[in-house]
Each structure stands twice: as structure tokens, then as C-alpha cells.
């Protein structure tokens, strides 16, 4: 019989009471763990959102965001100006091209007798206003078929009569977006997620290499090393990327000079992705950038405006869940403290016996701490089970109540708040989208690691809670053994 065995035995001495204590502990521990899981999920999400797009500004040609078409295109000189603005850590120019499948374009031309898709190109991948994108033919076929929006957008510039729409509609195919980029980032400034192959090396030099979205490559049976044509040039697939969205993956990236020369517009940019050195400087940098470039020349927009609202509301969820975690943890500690104080009082005489037969204080203290830990272990096991069922519900309850307000304030951002020029757009651009994504990651991150960390914290608090009554046992004198019950 060891101290541990005695502690375990003592923990089960009064089974009904043990069950009651474990149940109460399980509720507190379960709540603590649920809150920790929610907190971890939200913290991770906030960090991810901040890291990905939190400090990115987008510069488009003035007026380029609406349907009305814009003024002058952006130039390399403006990129140099932008780079000199304080707190700007990098400027990446992009040049977007609309690639039409050569065969489809010919068929369309025959059907509608107009050579080009008109300026209604903001559908599908959503090129800004169409004016800064130049159409070029390609051997590639789009990976996605045009949906209702796509058809409407594609046909809007070509058909006047409704009669011809039904006839010509099947001939339309979505264009493929080719973007020349000055660094290995997507159009929202996020690092490209290459799933195969390598990058293009120097993005500021001409190259016959291209990076393809995984679905686009699949549709055209292309692998790393395969070739295809844009205009009259042949390109080699250097790598494949996954943008995470269907439209985002119906795209390809070239180096910036390559795209500019394909468009025959050297030095011209569709947009600039400006990264600011920190979240706090974004607003100041945006104003400075707008001033430096001139309001008549360029529009500076902050793609994550809406997102910021979502982030700040997620921040409050984070704080609430952390406070709730701490409170539930403290409650568990308090329960242990009170139970153990009660047990020490109840076993006063027995502690006297142990002392009378020569038990050192630390042995008795240890015995009580271990007994508390046995109760906590049982409570944690039940609590973890409770948490694994409840944490999803608790987290979504917390987040949905917050994302409603986030959505409301997000929409107030106004029309035109979304820069349209992002192939694939921001999946997080919509705060509700952010919250929904968060929900999936909430369930995903109820990981054993987080639960283990939470249980470690519970044990830490339990030891502190049990230490007080354990130290009380040191003050019980052996003569208690002679006192009646």
C-alpha cells in the first residue's frame, strides 16, 4: 500500500459523494476546455487573417473599380513612388490578362459577329472593370463553365436581342485570368500555395514559365513541364498552385514583364499590391499612398476593411472565451479547494492517527494532494468528453452572436468597397465567410494538444487548490487522535 494507492482508495471512500464531486468538476473543467478550444480557434484565425491580408493595400487605376471604366493605367513610375511612402514594406505590381480559348473565341465570333467579349468582364474571376485587362488568345480551356452570372456578363456586350442569347449561350466559355506578378504572391498579396513544381524565380524578368491553378491544369491535362500557348508564344508549366477557390484556380501566373509584353503594354500595371509594415500603420499608409499617387490617378483600397471589423469582433470573442476559460478554471480550483478543506476537517482524527504512528507532514500532505488529483483526473476525463461534444456548440454560439454584428457593420462598408480585381477574390472578404471558415476551424482545432494543455492548466490549478488544505493538515496535532468524533 503506497501513498498513491491510499489516495486512490480515499477518493472512492464515499462513492456517492465522489460521483457528485466529479460531476461538478466535470462541468467546470468541460466549460474551461470548451472555452480554451474556442479561444485557440479564434486566436489562430485572427493571427491567420492578420498575417494573410491584414496589412495589404491594393492600388487600382482611378475609377477602375466600378462599371464605368477608368482613367489612366498605373505605371512603373507610380510603383516606385508608392515604394517611397513611409511604412510601405513592399510594392508588387500585377498585370492582368484575359485569356480566351482560341477555338471558343472563333466560334463566338462566328455566332455573334463580334470579335471580342465586351467590357462587361467583371463577372467570373472579376477583373476590374475590364478596362485594364487585355484579351489574348490561348490554347488553354477554362476549368469552369460559365454559370448564370458568367453567361450574363459574357453576353452583355455582344447581344442586343434576346432571341440570339439562347442560341449563342452554349458557345460562351469563361476566360482564364493570367496575371503577371512582380513577386511570388497571388493578387491579394498572399504567398502562393504551390502544390507542385517550383516558382518562376525572378518575377521581374521575362520568362517562358507559368504557374497554373490546379483545376486549370487538370482540365487541360497539363503537368509540371507541359507546354501551352498564349498568343503566339509557348509557355512551360513550372508549378501548380491551389488558391482554394474554383475561380481562383482557373487562373495562371506569369512574371510581370512577360504579361506586360504579351499585352504589348510594357511598364503598365493593372494594380499594385502594397504591403504595409504593420497593422497599426495601415490607415496612415493608405492616406499617404493616396496623396502620393493622386486621387485622379489611382484608387487605394483596403481589401480587408470588412475583414478588420470581423477581426475586431473575433478579438472580442477571443477575450470573452479567455475570460470564461480563466473563470471556469478558477471555479474548478475553488471546487477542489472547498472539497479538500471539507475532507481534511472530516478526517481530522484520522490525520491525528497517521501523525501519532509517525507519518511525516509531507506524506500526509502529499496523500491529500494526490487524492485531489484523482478527483481532478476523473473530472477531466468526463469534462474532456463533455467539451468534445459541447465546444463546437459553445464556440458557434459565441461566434454567431458576434458575426451578426460583424456582418452588419461589414456591409455598411458600402458599395464598391470590394475591389473587384482579385481573381478568386477574398474568401474572407465577407465577414460571414470569415465566421463560417472559423467554425470549420473550430471543430478542426479541438485537437488533443489543446485539450492536453487545458488539462495541464486544470491540474496546475488543482494542485494550487489542494495545497492549501494539504498545508492545513500540517497544523493538525497528533493529540487529535484522542478526541472523540
Amino acid at each position: 500500500m503506497s501513498v498513491l494507492a491510499r489516495s486512490v482508495g480515499n477518493a472512492f471512500r464515499n462513492r456517492v459523494r465522489t460521483a457528485a464531486v466529479v460531476a461538478v468538476l466535470a462541468v467546470a473543467i468541460g466549460l474551461a476546455l470548451s472555452m480554451l478550444v474556442a479561444n485557440q480557434a479564434v486566436t489562430g484565425k485572427v493571427a491567420e487573417l492578420n498575417a494573410s491580408v491584414g496589412t495589404v493595400l491594393t492600388v487600382n487605376p482611378a475609377g477602375g473599380q466600378g462599371f464605368e471604366g477608368g482613367g489612366e493605367p498605373l505605371t512603373a513610375a507610380q510603383a516606385a513612388t508608392a515604394a517611397k511612402v513611409p511604412n510601405v514594406s513592399s510594392v508588387v505590381g500585377t498585370k492582368a490578362l484575359r485569356l480566351r480559348n482560341a477555338a471558343a473565341a472563333a466560334a463566338e465570333a462566328a455566332a455573334s459577329q463580334t470579335g471580342q467579349a465586351g467590357p462587361g468582364g467583371q463577372g467570373g474571376p472579376g477583373l476590374p472593370g475590364g478596362q485594364s485587362a487585355t484579351s489574348v488568345t490561348t490554347s488553354l480551356r477554362a476549368a469552369i463553365d460559365a454559370g448564370t452570372l458568367g453567361n450574363r456578363n459574357q453576353s452583355s456586350g455582344t447581344t442586343g436581342g434576346t432571341g440570339s442569347t439562347s442560341q449563342s449561350a452554349p458557345a460562351f466559355s469563361l476566360p482564364v485570368t493570367a496575371t503577371g506578378i512582380g513577386a511570388e504572391v497571388d493578387s491579394s498579396g498572399k504567398a502562393l500555395q504551390l502544390t507542385q513544381g517550383t516558382g518562376l524565380g525572378n518575377y521581374t524578368a521575362s520568362s517562358a514559365g507559368a504557374l497554373l491553378g490546379i483545376t486549370l491544369a487538370e482540365k487541360n491535362n497539363l503537368k509540371v513541364g507541359s507546354t501551352f500557348t498564349i498568343g503566339d508564344k509557348t509557355f512551360t508549366v513550372k508549378g501548380l498552385f491551389d488558391a482554394g477557390t474554383a475561380f481562383g484556380n482557373n487562373a495562371l501566373y506569369l512574371t510581370l514583364p512577360t504579361a506586360q509584353s504579351l499585352a504589348a503594354l510594357p511598364g503598365e500595371l493593372s494594380s499594385m499590391i502594397v504591403t504595409v509594415n504593420s497593422m497599426e500603420n495601415v490607415d496612415a499608409a493608405k492616406t499617404a499612398l493616396q496623396t502620393a499617387l493622386g486621387t485622379d490617378k489611382a484608387d487605394v483600397s483596403q481589401g480587408q476593411r470588412n475583414l478588420q471589423t470581423a477581426v475586431s469582433s473575433l478579438d472580442s470573442v477571443k477575450n470573452i472565451s479567455f475570460i470564461a476559460f480563466a473563470a471556469a478554471l478558477a471555479t474548478a480550483g475553488l471546487i477542489i479547494l472547498l472539497i479538500m478543506v471539507m475532507l481534511v476537517r472530516e478526517r481530522r482524527r484520522e490525520i491525528g492517527v497517521l501523525k501519532a504512528i509517525g507519518a511525516p507532514n509531507r506524506t500526509i500532505g502529499l496523500q491529500f494532494v494526490l487524492e485531489a488529483l484523482v478527483l481532478v483526473a476523473l473530472g477531466s476525463a468526463v469534462g474532456a468528453a463533455v467539451a468534445s461534444f459541447a465546444s463546437g456548440g459553445i464556440a458557434s454560439a459565441l461566434i454567431s452572436s458576434n458575426s451578426t454584428t460583424a456582418a452588419a457593420t461589414g456591409r455598411r462598408g458600402g458599395p464598391g468597397g470590394f475591389p473587384g480585381g482579385f481573381p478568386g477574390g477574398f474568401p474572407e472578404g465577407n465577414p460571414l465567410g470569415g465566421a463560417n471558415q472559423l467554425l470549420t476551424s473550430v471543430t478542426a482545432s479541438a485537437s488533443p494538444g489543446v485539450i492536453a494543455a487545458g488539462i495541464a492548466a486544470v491540474f496546475g490549478v488543482a494542485i494550487i487548490g489542494a495545497l492549501v488544505p494539504a498545508l492545513l493538515t500540517a497544523r493538525i496535532r497528533p493529540i487529535e487522535v484522542l478526541r472523540g468524533e
Binding site: R6, G9, N10, V353, K355, I357, G358, N361, L482
Partner: protein, 235 residues
């Protein structure tokens, strides 16, 4: 050798002070079997608790082999209780949710004896006090009063103490088992040179001891051959 010098223990109850141990002095040579008799409430248990370092005297001192308990820090008092004293309590004071063997093993565990060795010794001791092997693993609260008494005696012997303090060790036993316990105690004092101080109401037991004390209202007197005749008079 144990020396008791002017030992006093007073309790305050309300505005009255009671002195269950009032200026008690005596000496016991190592290996002596001694008994204390006295009326209920005369202070016998209080005196034993002072000798066993369960309680501290109001004044006076106890010297064990010349070492004073009065100035001893708590840690050393614990060690004294563990190594030098075997206590048989009037109310047994066994741990109710442990088995007989586990109870006897406890003092050995505190003394750091290996598990196998303590289990072995615990079984031997329980056999010595005539507790059937089938009862060794039984929980204490499933044993009779007399059986618990014997487990309590076995526990007191566990660490081969120099001094055994037994408070009414035969109070719950039938004559035959009581007889056996007395034999056991006198064998210990004889063979292992253990000093034994027994509180008893049992005249037969008292008569078998080397020295007999009587406690009356906190004062200790020894029954010598001369005053024994007077003491054994009826009344």
C-alpha cells in the same frame, strides 16, 4: 531508560482548570513491564499521550535515554513516535477503509521499509496476535472489536519500538485472548528488552507486571509490596 520529571498537563474548561497530570515523576528501566491503574477520568490516557509525544506537557519533561522531549522540534518528535514508540489506543484508531495488513504496514511504510518486507512482517505480527489469515486482508470496519484490538496491537509492534504504550489493550478481549496478549507483552519485554507501560482495569494483568502505578486525580503513586495489601482491600 525513560525518565519522567515533574510532568504537569492542565486543561482549561470554562473558567475551571483541570490537572489530569499533576506533578508526575517516575523512571522505568529498559525492558520493564509496568502498569497504571486508576479510575476513569484520572488522567491515564493524558499521561500516556505525553509519554508518546502526542501532546506537549504544560510543564515538566520526559527524557528518553537521556534525550529531552521538551526541546525537541516537531520533525524529531515525529521520528520519535515512528521509531521509538508503539501506541495501542483505547479506541484502536485504525484506518477504517484499509485492510488489517495495510494498517499494520503503515508505520513501516513511514519508516521506509520495502513493500515486500513490510507485508511479510505484517502477516507475522497478525499471526502473533492470533488473527486468522482469512481476516488479514479484510477491511478494518468488517472486523469485531476484539479483532480490531489485536490489529492495533500488531500495528504498535510494527517498527520494534523501544517503548510500548498500551491504553486498555485487553479491554475488548475475552479472557483467553487477553491472557495471550499479556503473555505476548511480557515475552516482548523479556526477549526484546522492550519497555511496556500498560493502562488497565484488569487486576490479573496488573498483577503480572513488574511495576504497578496508580493514578489518582493526576497524581501517580507506585504500589509497593507494603501498600499493595492496603490497595487490594475491598473498597
Amino acid at each position: 531508560m525513560i525518565e519522567v520529571k515533574n510532568l504537569v498537563r492542565t486543561f482549561k474548561s470554562g473558567d475551571r482548570t483541570i490537572k489530569p497530570v499533576n506533578d508526575v515523576s517516575f523512571e522505568l528501566e529498559q525492558g520493564t513491564l509496568a502498569s497504571i491503574v486508576g479510575k476513569s477520568g484520572s488522567g491515564k490516557s493524558t499521561l500516556l499521550s505525553l509519554l508518546g509525544a502526542l501532546d506537549k506537557p504544560t510543564s515538566g519533561d520526559v527524557l528518553v535515554d537521556g534525550v529531552s522531549l521538551a526541546g525537541m522540534p516537531d520533525g524529531q518528535l515525529t521520528r520519535y513516535r515512528r521509531r521509538d514508540i508503539g501506541f495501542v489506543f483505547q479506541q484502536f484508531n485504525l484506518i477504517p477503509n484499509l485492510s488489517a495488513v495495510d494498517n499494520v504496514m503503515l508505520p513501516m511504510e513511514f519508516a521506509g521499509i520495502r513493500k515486500a518486507a513490510r507485508a511479510e512482517r505484517a502477516r507475522q505480527l497478525l499471526e502473533q496476535v492470533q488473527l486468522g489469515p482469512e481476516k488479514h486482508v479484510r477491511r478494518i470496519n468488517r472486523l469485531s472489536g476484539g479483532e480490531q484490538q489485536r490489529v492495533a496491537i500488531a500495528r504498535a509492534l510494527a517498527n520494534e519500538p523501544k517503548l510500548i504504550l498500551a491504553d486498555e489493550p485487553t479491554g475488548n478481549l475475552d479472557e483467553q485472548t487477553g491472557e495471550h496478549i499479556i503473555e505476548l507483552l511480557s515475552a516482548l519485554s523479556r526477549d526484546y528488552n522492550t519497555t511496556i507501560l500498560v493502562v488497565t482495569h484488569d487486576r490479573a494483568l496488573a498483577n503480572k507486571t513488574d511495576r504497578r502505578f496508580r493514578l489518582q486525580q493526576g497524581r501517580l503513586t507506585e504500589e509497593t509490596a507494603r501498600n499493595r495489601a492496603a490497595a487490594s482491600l475491598p473498597g
